[in-house]
């Protein structure tokens, strides 16, 4: 009895010790795994030299682009506070990010002056373009001459990527390609699947971005068999444009869809003036809506379709953080339509700095090394996978949305849609 009892105790003790060792091993292994898979973020405070990555940009606090990006400085601040709170350590240095936002007043000449200052006097490490390709094109020489990487935010056009420029890149797809990655490729895909429209009319502004979208979408419409019955590009007019001539022509043609490729506030003006003149096509499509769209149109906005790079239904990388930053900045994604591109750019910058440290340990934080890493990015963003192609453009595309009862809902593709596309 005694011997068997002793054996039993020994067995229980051995089992207990084994379980304890197993638990210790599992817990230790878990923390070791965290430590090895996330070496860049260090929780405890360690005295390390600080490396500041300076990011410079302008935004339009006034002028015609102000309704589209004037509040981006709030998002910049929210992101800067958040990222610096992560105590990021790269290449044995505590890395801080400093975002400088200057006001270009929607003036390209002023933007050129300010970017020159950012590159030469403030000596920023990375430049981020302001709104619109028209501005972006004029900033390329500054990036190339001063050898500072320039990430094009809401600014991309075909000619940017054909001139052998080495210091520029963007997250966006080359949306000017006719019949391929057009801005509205998924929208036309959706139309093809729903197969309701027969005719379409195009009215656009002859500026780089809108002109690119316009031309690629005409090609996409023709490719899917839609009859293009009106196609006109207008000179941009920022001072209360009058669209009476185009609306009169469209009334005579009565297309199923009117596709507007111009800045959102002016698309809203077009729709408002058309309504006042008794013209209501079956569907309005505007390549941009932006902050003024819904307040300008009210119930007239219902049914309008558009595109966007991100909606809250996306569940890729750092979506929750993006939502949190928007809340902190007091910004609504439905109002600040392109703010997701800013988040993607910040994700690109962080990833590029990390990649640069791995690829080029001796010179991790140089502009050349970061530029090289930016051009080789293969990463996940809030809007899905991004692979920067050799000319410098990316792979992030858009999804169609529709305004339904004053709300913006995702209608395509089906795996991301949170509402059904409403059409005649």
């Amino acid at each position: 009895m005694k011997a068997s009892s002793k054996r039993a105790v020994t067995t229980i003790a051995a089992a207990g010790i084994s379980i304890a060792l197993l638990v210790v091993g599992l817990v230790g292994g878990y923390y070791a795994a965290i430590a090895t898979t996330s070496p860049k973020i260090v929780e405890k405070t360690v005295e390390l030299p600080t490396q500041t990555i300076k990011i410079g940009m302008t935004i339009s606090k006034s002028g015609p682009f102000a309704p589209l990006d004037s509040d981006y400085d709030k998002f910049n601040k929210a992101w800067q506070d958040w990222i610096n709170g992560q105590n990021m350590v790269i290449a044995n240095k505590r890395v801080k990010f400093e975002v400088t936002s200057l006001d270009d007043s929607s003036d390209a000449a002023k933007a050129v002056q300010l970017y020159t200052r950012l590159a030469t006097q403030d000596k920023v490490d990375i430049l981020v373009s302001p709104y619109s390709a028209f501005f972006g094109l004029q900033l390329i020489p500054i990036a190339e001459q001063n050898q500072v990487p320039l990430i094009m935010a809401e600014a991309s056009t075909a000619t940017m990527w054909t001139a052998g420029n080495k210091w520029i890149m963007t997250s966006m797809v080359p949306y000017w390609e006719k019949g391929l990655n057009g801005w509205s490729a998924t929208y036309f895909d959706m139309l093809e699947k729903n197969n309701w429209p027969k005719t379409i009319a195009f009215v656009g502004w002859d500026i780089p971005w809108a002109g690119d979208d316009h031309k690629s979408s005409v090609a996409l419409a023709q490719k899917m068999g839609l009859q293009v019955i009106y196609d006109v590009l207008l000179q941009p007019n920022f001072a209360n444009p009058d669209f009476t001539a185009q609306i009169t022509a469209l009334k005579g043609l009565n297309p199923d869809i009117v596709y507007l490729s111009m800045f959102g506030p002016f698309s809203a003006q077009f729709i408002k003036q058309a309504n006042d003149q008794g013209f209501r096509p079956k569907e309005w499509h505007s390549i941009e809506f932006g902050a003024a769209f819904l307040p300008t149109l009210g119930s007239l906005a219902n049914g309008v379709t558009s595109e966007i790079f991100w909606t809250p239904n996306f569940s890729f990388y750092q979506t929750d953080i993006f939502k949190q930053l928007l809340n902190q900045a007091g910004m609504d994604w439905r109002v600040w339509q392109w703010v997701e591109l800013r988040m993607i750019i910040f994700q690109m910058i962080v990833q590029a700095v990390q990649d640069s440290a791995i690829r080029n340990p001796a010179d991790s934080f140089s502009k050349a090394s970061i530029n090289d890493a930016l051009h080789k990015l293969q990463m996940m963003t809030i809007s899905g996978p991004l692979i920067v192609q050799s000319p410098g453009y990316g792979t992030v595309g858009l999804v169609p949305i529709q305004i339904q009862n004053g709300n913006i809902v995702t209608i395509w593709p089906t795996n991301l849609a949170d509402a059904t596309y409403v059409h005649p």
Binding site: S62, P67, A268, K272, N275, D276, G298, L300
Partner: protein
């Protein structure tokens, strides 16, 4: 309306009020705020909007008295130059105050929200908001015409615009007439703003381009008469729209400029002579 207000101030007071377009925008903003307020019934809101016109006139009187009158003591050329600087500065202040107080977004009221129907006559659809604007313009022009022709102040305004020194010798009270003219011009800006927010939209930074357009209109129409800016506005707007419809919308702004240059070459005083 915008060009008319801009023009009478230029002709009578002798200054270029570069803040005129911004006053149009601010009037449109106030009309927007009143129209979109849910606190009052529609008729009360409409009365408040109409009340903006005399309020702006009063503001114009004060503006002239405080900021413009000291400039008028200078020689005419210096006064003109100084007025450009002062009114441009005021324009920038208005823009920034608006942008910081009410945001940079465009403000607009749809015809539907005002219960304005779309009118179709014999297959021709006309926006009732535009008809309303036309009605306002006709009424305001007639009232202005009668005021300028029949009233003592109106006659004084005409006298000053024709020959400032002779008018002074004849006993015209130049400072008071200038002040009333400024008030009148500002009230016309208020009318323009109310109509603009219904037909198109108003935004904090759209005032200056509107002033520039008003300048083009009065150059085209001629500064010699009260009817000039009206004719100039109709001519420029029609040229843009018709060329966009019949030729090519792309060339519409260019064609408008060609017409402007052609008129200036053939009739340097504008379409309507004194």
């Amino acid at each position: 309306m915008t060009s008319l207000g801009f023009s009478i101030v230029f002709r009578v007071v002798g200054i270029l009020n570069l803040a005129h377009g911004d006053l149009v925008m601010v009037s449109g903003l106030f009309a927007y705020l009143v129209f979109t307020s849910d606190l009052m019934p529609f008729t009360i809101r409409l009365l408040f909007v109409i009340l903006l016109i005399p309020l702006f006139a009063a503001f114009g009187l004060a503006f002239e008295r405080v900021l413009i009158r000291p400039l008028l003591r200078k020689p005419p050329n210096e006064a003109l130059l100084s007025s450009v600087l002062v009114t441009l500065g005021f324009s920038l202040v208005l823009q920034d105050v608006w942008a910081n107080s009410f945001g940079t977004l465009q403000k607009s009221i749809t015809s539907e929200s005002l219960g304005l129907p779309i009118i179709t006559v014999a297959g021709l659809t006309v926006a009732s908001s535009r008809l309303l604007a036309l009605l306002f313009i006709v009424i305001a022009s007639i009232l202005l015409f009668v005021f300028v022709r029949k009233s003592y102040v109106g006659k004084a305004m005409r006298a000053i615009s024709q020959d400032r020194e002779a008018a002074m010798f004849l006993g015209v009270n130049l400072p008071n007439t200038s002040m009333i003219t400024f008030g009148l011009g500002t009230s016309l800006a208020a009318v323009g703003g109310i109509l603009l927010v219904i037909i198109q939209s108003v935004a904090p930074f759209s005032g200056l381009p509107l002033t520039v357009k008003a300048l083009a209109v009065i150059v085209l129409g001629g500064t010699g008469s009260m009817i000039g800016p009206l004719i100039g506005g109709i001519a420029l707007g029609s040229a843009e729209t018709l060329s966009a419809f019949f030729i090519d919308p792309y060339w519409s702004p260019g064609i408008a400029v060609i017409i402007l240059v052609a008129v200036l070459l053939l009739r340097p005083t504008g379409l309507v002579r004194r």
